[in-house]
């Protein structure tokens, strides 16, 4: 009985602890979830139209680098603010450009979609590492810095209950803040507009879509390019809003966690955001736990778990969630299947 009592007490203490760290957690969850959410939206747009894209990781990395490089190159000439803005534009443009490459490979050339994505990831690793060593490292100077986050007035932030929630979504940099609006807009667009209907049609049954006069290739090109522009924005977030610097391979698997968030969210924008927030929470918990350890037995237990395990938590969680969710969610029927127009070889 005593052991059971101890377990209950520990669970109670854990609950109390989690409740007390909520104010620490909330402000950082969205920032951690932003690149995942944008990457997952890229996946949603690609796969809803029938194109598998496992190169999101590489596109994010490439955009992160070229966004940083733009800020790095221009910030003496035009000042920090303008160069960051141009850097973000450059990152989105690079994302869209790589989307064009992926669309060409998967839609027009009908290359294997998984291999096309793998190529993108390796190319991104090589190109960014190459240019980083050639241009940025020898210069010895930093980039354009980061965009200043928006701060809510204290009067609003200190409101009971709603205050922390508002802080979570509005006490952020512009890219993190925009995620919520992009998600809502895409959810509406995908399920309530003609463009969304066409996208889903070419992803579910391209032949039927073709028969009623939808240009399957055009629709897939548009979706892949637009989706990858969002992955580019995720890259810009990493270097120009979050860290202010570039390291080789800094995406660190985020492109793949984003894919897991997309599957978790059943290929819907809102679901993808939910998935990204879940991973963001797991990561945030790892961060908070390592700084604020509770008193007593619970604290001893949490201290005994090495920090590396907390750091590995999001990756392990991705595997568990994927194993639990897949099979109960259905991807678009024509996902990954190249479309051959009638009468074309």
């Amino acid at each position: 009985m005593d052991a059971v009592g101890t377990v209950f007490r520990l669970i109670w203490e854990l609950g109390v602890y989690l409740y007390t760290v909520v104010p620490d957690l909330l402000p950082i969850i969205l920032a951690l979830a932003t690149p995942l959410a944008l990457g997952a939206l890229c996946g949603v747009l690609n796969e809803r139209s029938g194109v598998v894209n496992i190169g999101i990781e590489g596109i994010m990395l490439m955009a992160a680098f070229f966004g940083y490089l733009t800020g790095f190159a221009l910030h003496d000439a035009v000042g920090s603010g303008v160069s960051i803005a141009l850097g973000i534009l450059a990152a989105v443009f690079v994302g869209a450009l790589l989307g064009l490459v992926h669309a060409w490979l998967t839609v027009s050339v009908r290359a294997d979609q998984i291999i096309a994505g793998t190529m993108m990831n390796i190319a991104a690793f090589g190109v960014t590492g190459y240019l980083n060593r050639l241009i940025i490292t020898p210069s010895g100077r930093g980039g354009a810095g980061v965009i200043a986050p928006f701060h809510l007035p204290d009067a609003i932030a200190n409101l009971p209950f709603v205050g922390p929630i508002l802080v979570m979504f509005l006490d952020q940099g512009p890219i993190a803040m925009s995620v919520l609006f992009i998600v809502i807009a895409l959810q509406f667009a995908l399920f309530r507009t003609r463009w969304g209907l066409r996208t889903r049609a070419v992803g579910e049954h391209p032949k039927a879509a073709d028969t009623v006069g939808i240009d399957v290739y055009r629709q897939r090109y548009l979706n892949v390019i637009f989706g990858c522009a969002l992955a580019g924005l995720a890259g810009a977030f990493l270097t120009l809003e979050s860290t202010g610097s570039f390291q080789n391979g800094m995406t660190n698997g985020r492109g793949f966690i984003a894919l897991a968030a997309m599957i978790f969210g059943r290929w819907t924008p809102i679901g993808a955001l939910a998935g990204a927030l879940l991973f963001g929470t797991a990561t945030a918990l790892g961060v908070v736990v390592s700084i604020r350890i509770p008193e007593g037995d619970l604290g001893d237990i949490m201290r005994s778990i090495p920090s590396y395990w907390y750091a590995a938590l999001p990756y392990l969680m991705t595997i568990v969630i994927l194993a639990g969710v897949v099979g109960r969610s259905t991807p678009p029927a024509a996902d990954g299947v190249p479309y051959v127009k009638e009468g074309k070889g």
Partner: protein, 380 residues
């Protein structure tokens, strides 16, 4: 004579696109080198690629040391390439070679250090087997998950790669750190190190890797399990109707794939690195994918592709020292090779050749099973 010509024709049919893809990759990479030379202190240099490729070649084959460096670099790529290629045969994409390599290297380092004082005849094989088992266990996880739940190995293996780096760092820091060193690492290998056969660094792992080529070839061509692996890769549904067990085959293939990657880590640990410390990087992961694709998943093809990429890795440092062209150009060349293999249309247009499709058909199964997607053979 005509038989010889027919044989040559057959080889050309299979090897022409990969060879031309490599040539085209070098040409495009040369453009990258020239354009990027604008940003260096020396300014635009049109002849820089010639110098860089010359140094690359000299570093890889220009001397006895160069050639043995190439062989040493090729050995883990052979095994890693076999790991990826075997997965392809069953319609699986193991991107987890990097993680399985690290686990194999770690297991070999820990067991090897424990047996440092034992006779080498026992210590080295036991450490090698420990690495193989470590890799196999780490390959089993995504294989089992794919077979049972449909969780796609492309995501799970990447996640395991990241988790492996963190958890092995923790293990070296907290569990098996050897006393008497200023940084966390495992102990000295002593007698567990693989014997050097030739020169300064040609170790026993190289013949082991070549042996693995023929073992995998035998497995695929001469055994029932090999036949089932190939059938599942071509068409999982047909395999199921024929009474085969896709669940078992999927798990088995990923486990064997992990085992090969684990051996790669073990020979690298026991033959080259000598101890496990955090921060050991495994470029073997990406390289192995390129090797498997270039070798068309065929064990003999993988052998040649691995020697080629081994040469790149062995020659690249000299290239960077002599010409300041960053070693990452090798990754760019790799990506370009994969690009031209996947989009072989480009190669056909540029060189006006007709040849067999360079990317193997089982890859379609990898894409079809994405996220437990459309049933194989179904869809649009």
């Amino acid at each position: 004579m005509s038989r010889l010509r027919r044989a040559a024709g057959r080889i050309w049919r299979v090897a022409s696109i990969p060879l031309l893809a490599i040539i085209l990759a070098f040409i495009v990479a040369a453009v990258v080198i020239v354009v990027s030379s604008v940003f260096t202190s020396t300014g635009l240099d049109v002849f820089l690629p010639l110098g860089a490729y010359g140094s690359l070649l000299a570093g890889a084959f220009g001397s006895g040391t160069g050639i043995s460096n190439t062989l040493v670099a090729a050995a883990p790529l052979i095994l890693g390439g076999l790991a990826v290629g075997l997965g392809f045969k069953a319609g699986l994409f193991n991107i987890g070679v990097a993680g399985q390599f690290l686990v194999g290297a770690f297991a070999a380092a820990v067991v090897g250090a424990r047996l440092a004082g034992a006779p080498g005849v026992i210590a080295a094989p036991v450490a090698l087997i420990a690495g193989a088992l470590g890799g196999a266990a780490f390959g089993f996880i995504p294989g089992f998950l794919k077979a049972r739940t449909g969780a796609h190995e492309v995501v799970t293996t990447i996640m395991l790669n990241n988790a492996a780096v963190l958890l092995l760092t923790w293990a070296v820091n907290d569990l098996v750190r050897a006393p008497g060193f200023s940084f966390p690492r495992t102990g000295d290998l002593g007698h567990s190190a693989l014997p050097i056969l030739l020169g300064r660094n040609v170790h026993l792992g190289i013949p082991i890797a070549v042996l693995a080529v023929f073992s995998v070839r035998w497995l695929l061509d001469r055994t029932t399990n090999g036949f089932e692996i190939r059938t599942v890769g071509q068409n999982p549904n047909a395999a199921r109707y024929a009474g085969m067990r896709p669940i078992f085959i999927t798990t088995l293939t990923m486990t064997l794939s992990g085992l090969l990657a684990g051996v790669a880590g073990a020979i690298q640990m026991l033959g080259v690195i000598g101890f496990y410390a955090p921060g050991i990087t495994a470029s073997v992961g990406f390289d192995s994918i390129a090797v498997a694709l270039l070798g068309r998943s065929d064990p003999i093809g993988i052998l040649f592709a691995a020697i080629l990429f081994g040469a790149f890795r062995a020659g690249a440092p000299l290239m960077q020292i002599e010409t300041s062209v960053p070693v990452e150009i090798i990754d760019i060349i790799q990506a370009l090779v994969i690009l031209f293999l996947a989009a072989d249309l480009i190669v056909r247009r540029v060189f006006r050749v007709r040849a067999a499709k360079p990317v193997i058909s089982e890859l379609a199964t990898v894409t079809r099973t994405w996220a437990g997607g459309a049933p194989p053979g179904g869809g649009a």
